[in-house]
């Protein structure tokens, strides 16, 4: 049976059984079936409609080209008058920002991860200290909640607190930034994608010196002002992926990140919720519930053997530990002021329980009961089925 018949509602018989068996091994098919079962609608006609669009593809291609051409023409017609419109008077003096002192400080607030949504807000602080004479000293701080810095600046009007009233308004144009991009400064821009070519948001892009970086936006795009004499390469990093180098060019295009051997598409089950692996920081291994069926309520012990780094450590209890245990728990009032020294011989049975206690050379006989009490009540010993002689001397 093919998928379309199953969607139509033909769920009986060997044919349906065969498709269902296929779905057990094929998550693609499984998801598709679930999609049709979870949403109401006349799916077959929708599918056939969609399929029609691909059967006589040549004709479709031509009509699509016309549509795009028309759209492009309309956009041009609208944008030309806008470009010609001059938003400022001749008398205003444009500020020329010098090349020397632009520092971009970017504060990136903590990304909140909700299931698969990544919220990133960026605040840009821009301090402009021009050095050229024709411009009055301006000290401005722009705090702009925008993703694209240069776009945010373009056309922005900034008020000055300068006492010189000739410079009432300073208009920072996008071209001004271009003037800044002289010999040693460039704007590196590009897009980060994963192995399937899908954009990766939230990828950290930093120069090797570690600061003044950025992160990629929802479409994987990034833009960073870089000073070539300070930085020689940019590093793109993202949890679960191998670091990627970004060369210092204007348009680096797509930067492909390769995953770090962990399959990012697996879903990790955390108690009763679930997190996509890419939102979990740290090393992740999936353990199926059946593997957890051990007689230990301790998750750490239960995962031992299935998760790298988790080793089953049977709690160790040996002579040294008992000495410590005794010293801590014995009643110090009993032989107060007296030296404590004794030898005790006993047998540890197969489950680690001491017995057959024999105390010798005891400096303080009153302690005998205490010794027996603590020995009988101690944690189970590690080395079992053996006779032990222990000498204890306390200062």
């Amino acid at each position: 049976m093919n998928l379309k018949d199953y969607i139509r509602g033909q769920r009986r018989g060997k044919g349906a059984n065969q498709l269902e068996r296929k779905a057990m091994d094929d998550p693609f098919l499984q998801d598709a079936i679930e999609g049709y079962d979870s949403v109401e609608g006349d799916h077959i006609s929708v599918i056939e409609n969609l399929e029609k669009q691909f059967s006589s593809s040549q004709k479709q291609h031509h009509t699509r080209i016309w549509i795009w051409a028309a759209a492009a023409a309309i956009i041009l017609l609208i944008s030309i008058p806008l470009l010609l419109h001059k938003p400022y008077e001749k008398n205003d003096i444009p500020a020329i920002v010098s090349s020397e002192k632009i520092q971009t400080k970017q504060e990136i607030s903590i990304p909140l991860l909700q299931e698969d949504t990544l919220l990133v807000t960026q605040h840009h602080k821009l301090e402009i200290e021009p050095a050229n004479p024709p411009v009055e000293k301006i000290k401005n701080e722009l705090i702009l909640p925008e993703n694209d810095l240069s776009q945010a600046l373009a056309g922005h009007v900034v008020q000055t607190d300068s006492s010189d009233q000739e410079l009432g308004k300073i208009f920072i144009r996008q071209e001004a930034l271009a003037l800044v991009n002289q010999s040693d400064k460039i704007v590196v821009s590009g897009r980060v994608v994963d192995e399937t070519g899908s954009p990766l948001p939230g990828v950290t892009i930093l120069p090797k010196n570690g600061y003044n970086g950025t992160i990629s936006d929802i479409d994987g795009n990034f833009k960073l002002d870089v000073s070539k004499d300070e930085v020689d390469v940019l590093i793109a990093s993202f949890v679960g992926m191998k670091e990627s180098e970004i060369p210092l060019k204007e348009n680096v295009g797509d930067i492909q990140m390769i995953s770090n051997d962990l399959a990012l598409n697996e879903v990790t089950i955390v108690a009763f919720g679930s997190q996509k692996k890419e939102s979990v920081v740290g090393s992740v291994t999936s353990v199926s519930p059946s593997q957890l069926r051990r007689s230990s309520s301790n998750l750490r012990d239960a995962t031992a053997g299935n998760v790298a780094g988790v080793v089953y450590n049977a709690p160790v209890f040996d002579k040294e530990d008992f000495i410590e245990y005794f010293t801590e728990h014995y009643d110090k009032d009993i032989c107060a002021g007296q030296k404590i020294s004794f030898k005790v011989k006993f047998y540890i049975d197969p489950i680690g329980q001491p017995g057959q206690i024999n105390i010798k050379e005891n400096s303080c006989p009153a302690l005998e009961i205490e010794i027996k009490r603590l020995l009988l009540g101690s944690p189970l010993w590690s080395k079992r089925d053996r006779k032990v002689t222990l000498q204890i001397e306390l200062p």
């Binding site: 009986r12 018989g13 349906a16 693609f28 598409n265």
Partner: protein, 190 residues
């Protein structure tokens, strides 16, 4: 350049190789056309909206057409699945909706289980399987029996046994897992 009839007899993988070799839009158009039911279904699952899903199918056509040229794809089927899922999730993130994925029907152990039910068995394995089937609880044993031995579909089993659809799926899944553990234990001992 093949004609329509020649194209229609090619398998998906053969067609894909042809797309990579010769960049004729007609080859890729046909390949994508064949995958539309799958792609649309997955979009429905993640986007829940018919119109949005239809748009996604069209957008994905463009996206996949470009990416096929750029990336070295070993297995088109699973690659297309990843791309489709990623596209849907990306779409959801953009509209900033919380993403609720119903896990009830998702089986965590897809494909991983090897239970001999579909495969050739040695006589030892055969005996182990029979023994282990008898060790199963009644519902699991019945469900597996109907599904694998009598080739009944889920809907068939629902009407025969009266179990709900979700229960049938769950009995089969858990039953398979129990069988696997039981068989592994037995065969190891030997």
């Amino acid at each position: 350049m093949k004609n329509r009839q020649e194209i229609s007899i090619l398998s998906n993988d053969e067609l894909f190789l042809l797309c990579k070799k010769e960049e004729q839009p007609i080859y890729f158009g046909e390949l994508y056309r064949r995958y539309i039911p799958m792609v649309y279904g997955v979009c429905l699952k993640y986007l829940s909206d018919e119109t949005d899903s239809q748009d996604a199918v069209m957008d994905l056509f463009e996206e996949v057409a470009q990416k096929i040229k750029l990336y070295d794809i070993q297995n088109f089927h699973s690659w297309l699945y990843s791309v489709t899922k990623n596209h849907c999730l990306h779409r959801l993130r953009k509209s900033k909706q919380a993403i609720f994925i119903n896990l009830d029907d998702t089986f965590m152990e897809n494909g991983d289980l090897f239970t001999l039910l579909d495969k050739e068995k040695s006589s030892d394995e055969e005996s182990a399987l029979i023994f282990c089937m008898n060790e199963l609880g009644e519902e699991q044993r019945k469900s597996i029996n109907y599904f694998y031995y009598e080739n009944k579909s889920y809907a068939d089993i629902v009407s025969i046994t009266g179990y709900t659809l979700e229960k049938v799926k769950s009995y089969i899944q858990n039953g398979k897992r129990n069988l696997k553990n039981c068989i592994t234990r037995i065969l190891k001992i030997q």
